[in-house]
Each structure stands twice: as C-alpha cells, then as structure tokens.
Amino acid sequence: MNDIYEGLAAAFWLVMTLDADLIEISLRSLQVSLTALVIASAIALPLGTLLAIRRFRYRRLTISLLNALMGLPPVVVGLIVYILLSRSGPFGVLGLLFTPTAMIIAQVIIITPLIASITHQAMRELWAEYHDLLISLNTSGRQRITTLILDGRRNLLTASLAGFGRAIGEVGAIMIVGGNIDNATRVLTTAIALETGRGDFALALALGFVLIALAIGVNIAIHWLSRTEREGRW
C-alpha cells in the first residue's frame, strides 16, 4: 500500500510543480493519440457507415474480418510497422522509424478496425430506422451516409472515444516503433513501462495517475463540447 501513497504524493507533487518532463511527455501522449484518433475516425466512420448501408459481394466477409481485426495484437502491429519503416524496409527512405509519426501510424492501424466496427453496429440500427424514408426521398448514396453520420453522431462519438481509450493506453506497438527515446518519442505509457522496469514505482504510479486523469479529462471535454447528454438532444 505504501507504494500507492507514495505514488499519489509523487503524482500530486509532479502535477503541482508542473514538472517539465511530465508536461512534455503528457502533451506528446495527447498529440500522438489525438492525431491517430482524428485520422482513424476520418477513415473508420464513413467506412463503418458504408458497411451498414451498402450491399456488396464480400460484405459479410469484410465485417467478420473487421471484427477480427479489433483484437489485433498491438505488439504484432508494432513489429510489422517497424519492418515496413526500417531502413531496409519499403518505406525506409522516409526515415520515419523512431518518430512520433511512426507511432501515429501504428495507432491508426490498431484503432481503425475498432472504431469502424462499433460504427457499423450503431449505424446498422439507425439505417434500419431510416431506410424506407431515405429510399422514398430518392437520396443518393452520399446523402445517405452524410445523413446517418450526422444523425448518429452520438453513437459515433462513443465509437471514437473507445478508439481513443485504446490508443492512449497502448504501449506495445509504440514502444517498438517509437523506441521510448527521451525528449523524442517518450509518452506516458512507455515511460511507465520504463520506470517500472527501473524500480521507480512512485514515479511510475504518478505517471499512471496522470494517464488516467488525462483519459477521463479528454472524454469529459469531448462530451461537453458536443453537448451529447444535454436534455432533448440526440
């Protein structure tokens, strides 16, 4: 129990003194995960919606594949991205390995299937409700997708937040492709892994508490900004 109290005290101290390293690491965590979230959402929200409304030949296969990809092991994603971005790999010339960009790429790959799958589930229900009306109004495919995304935005927010939760807490992939380099690619999760390994439990715990607070803070901020739980709004 002592470790936890020490951790709390250390966390409190770090936050109160606005520890420069802590701020830098936290901001990088946010920057990487939020960028990954925006890119993944831009791909996954329309994709999930399209899967809900479009009938095509390999639809069922695509959906099962997507659901399977939700459980993609981050370490393996990290390994594959590492191989692709390494000097001898196909994208080696870009020199992206051990940069935040590499970490963003890995996280996008990890969370896109998750967001798309949750989007698909939610949009399927909304589509069942709207189907007859939108067909009757003679809407184009594009108009259908925009309408569903707009009116189902609350469900999509849940999908995106689930993706963000996975991204910000992820350590396996970004450790491999980012390398946990101080002042360059160190983020909260990799720092926690490092401090735990070094036996500095107080600092590790402090970083852990900051991570949890950050995740909760971002969720509340997004909910508040989009006014989802306000009375009378969907």
Binding site: E129, Y130, I135, S136, L137, Q143, T147, D151, G232, W234
Partner: protein, 238 residues
Amino acid sequence: MVTSILPLVLENTSVRRRGKRLIGPVDYALAPEGLTIIIGPNGSGKTTLLRVMHGVERISEGRVRWAVPDEHAQHHQAYVFQTPIMLRRSVGDNLRYPLHLVKTPRAETEAAVSDWLERIDLQDRMKLQATRLSGGEKQRLALARALIRRPQVLFLDEPCANLDGASTRAIEALLSDALAAGTRIVMTTHDLGQARRLASDAVFMLHGKIGASGPAPQFFDAPESAELGAFLRGDIVA
C-alpha cells in the same frame, strides 16, 4: 407547367418473396386525377401495392410504367409511412431535409418551412426534437415533410391508424387541401368511414389481387362483388 408523370400503369405485376406471392398478377391504371383509396383485409397486399407504385418494392413479374422515365417520376412522388419515421433532428430540420436534398435556395426553404409549420399547427415547436412529438403531431409532420417538395403524387399507408378523431380530422383537412392544389393521392385505410369521406375512386384488395375497383359512389353503394359487399358491411372476409 411541369409535365405530368401520370398516368401510372401496372401490367401483370406481381411480387414474390421467398416463394410466396404477395401480390399479383395485378393490372391497374392510375388515372391522372383524384384520390384513390385502397381497402382490404390485413395481408391482402395493400401496402405492397402502394410500395410497388412508389417504386420501392422490387417486382418479380410484369411492368410498372409512368408516363415519363422512372428517374424523372421518382422526383415527383412522396410517401407517408404507417409509422411516421422521424429524423433525429428538430421539427424544423425534419421539414428542411427534403428541400436540402434537392439543394433548394435557403430563403425559399425557410419560407416553405414556416408556411408548413403554420399549416400543421406546430409553429411553436420548430426547435423541438421531432422524436418527442405526440403520435398525431408526428403524423402531421410526416405529411408536411412529404408535401413540402410539392409532389405530383402522394402515397399514404394508413396515415390515420392509431390516431384519434381530432388528429384524423387534421390529417384529412391537409389531404383535402393537397387534393385541391392538384396533388394526386393514393392511400390505404382500414377506416371505411374515412374511405367514403375521401375517395373519388377505390380499389378493393383481396388475397393479393384486385377484387374490385371503380369510381367512388357506386363502389361503395353498389359493390360489384360479393366479397366487397361483405367487407363493406363489416363481415370478416378471409
């Protein structure tokens, strides 16, 4: 003057689903004017016939032909469903939606929206979430949303099912206005009183086929078939 999409002609049309024939074969011509009422017992194919005319039901045999090409005809029809489908938006946005789809200029849209809100007596509910309206209000809104693009033909599937007298009267008044403005109306109903009040001609569906059809007074007063006579008397026709 816009070219009329009518008459609509159904030739030997049938719809099958999973080996079961839902309607057909049906031969029918929808005349350019009036209000057609479709009556018949449950499962006789009223809704399917309506959906076939609207072009949202895939037909298995036969043809459905408008006076103009299908893509053109689709733009001049509207359909009101038995259970009103409300978009998860405000009452005003529900009315704006069909106009937005066809890129109507903003000023024109707003004028039409406030005009229709007044007609359906929901002026003070413009900002309210449409899903929170009562049953009668939802149906009025659905009707206004269908009429706002000034369709030439309006299909309604039991628009007054589950509505009380006052709401039914409000809907019927709106339908009479639309009819007077030249809208061709085709609707199904279980309410024989309503059928008599509104119909200029009627169709009796039985077992997926047209059992009888014709202009209104004779259709009801001198039924051409025994089944129709029994149905109109209130007997159970199976």
